[in-house]
């Protein structure tokens, strides 16, 4: 999928921006593998020491009296550049790593110093993924995966996001290694939260994730939840991008 995607639409040196996506593709980050630039966020802070991601990669561990998490996670942030069409540069500048944590307390240190999604402006996303998994379709952990999508009217994103990520960090989904990460996407008229898992074809897993979502988000029974495979997301992106491309990119 990755290869096909890249081969069809992207010269190897390119990254794609999600800006060409429609809102229903929120949470999709269709750049390709040159995502090393995603380390920009940490680079800004760390390049006096080491310029690369080794800072984050090296042992983020729980502090002495802290509560360890099942997995380490990394916060990411991305924002569409206003009025700017897709370009590799804009995407690379759009996504930033905020940081990685290994314990409940470390999570709060980040979370408490980040704005809540409902207070974000513009076309922005927070991503919270297991350490080592990039918030993009092509990552090995994601390439056969998919996501549950829930659209929220304005005003709900902050709390839903919080409940979602707390459930993820607390291992409430109980689907083994299947969860990859979660995304909240702030859009013009609605916000969207999604949770990504590894194996789109595993219906027992996707059903369990759905049920857990309903529970932890306290969703009414009639809430529409959509499962979308990343393969389909890529197709949609390809179609949409084809249109964009015809007018030049």
């Amino acid at each position: 999928m990755n290869n096909k995607f890249d081969a069809t639409y992207s010269p190897p040196s390119h990254s794609h921006s999600p800006v060409s996506l429609k809102d229903d593709d929120s949470g999709d980050h269709d750049q390709n593998e040159e995502n090393s630039t995603q380390k920009d966020g940490e680079k800004e802070k760390n390049d006096k020491d080491k310029p690369q991601s080794s800072i984050k990669r090296k042992a983020v561990v729980p502090g002495p009296a802290e509560h360890p998490l099942q997995y380490n996670y990394t916060f990411w942030y991305s924002r569409r550049t206003p009025g700017r069409p897709t370009s590799s540069q804009s995407y690379e500048q759009n996504i930033k790593q905020i940081g990685t944590f290994a314990s409940v307390e470390q999570f709060w240190r980040f979370y408490s110093h980040m704005v809540r999604p409902g207070d974000l402006t513009g076309h922005s996303d927070f991503h919270l993924f297991k350490e080592g998994i990039k918030p993009m379709w092509e990552d090995d952990a994601n390439k056969n995966g998919g996501k549950w999508i829930i659209r929220l009217r304005k005003g709900l994103a902050s709390r839903c996001w919080e409940n979602l990520i707390l459930a993820m960090l607390g291992e409430q989904f109980m689907v083994g290694e299947e969860i990859c990460g979660a995304v909240v996407s702030v859009r013009f008229q609605e916000d969207i939260i999604s949770i990504w898992n590894k194996t789109a074809s595993d219906q027992a897993t996707t059903a369990r994730i759905r049920d857990t979502l309903r529970r932890v988000l306290n969703l009414p029974p009639n809430t529409i939840m959509e499962y979308k495979t990343h393969t389909d997301s890529i197709k949609a992106w390809e179609e949409f991008h084809g249109l964009v491309n015809s007018s030049g990119r």
Partner: protein, 104 residues
Amino acid sequence: MGMLIWYRRLGLAEGVALPPGDYSTTPGGTLFGTTPGGTRIIYDRKFLMACRNSPVAKTPPCNLPDIPGVTSPSMDELQTETNLIPADDEKPGLGEEAQFDIDI
């Protein structure tokens, strides 16, 4: 894939019984569930929220990037604000669901 794992939240209010499996609880309220998939570190929302007020959780991470409008290493007012958010646990149901009843 297809791995069967049982779980429930610790301190579940909904009256759902714990499924079969070996569980133990730490003084901190952590549930370690031993499942066919192995032991996992499980925290419920209430416990995680309680950890929010620990001193260490309130200090910003040392290498938090400064992204205007998104993060701020010295965003004390933000911290205060988030800490003031009433715990939903205290009144589950009503308030929350009311916010969902229009559309999603």
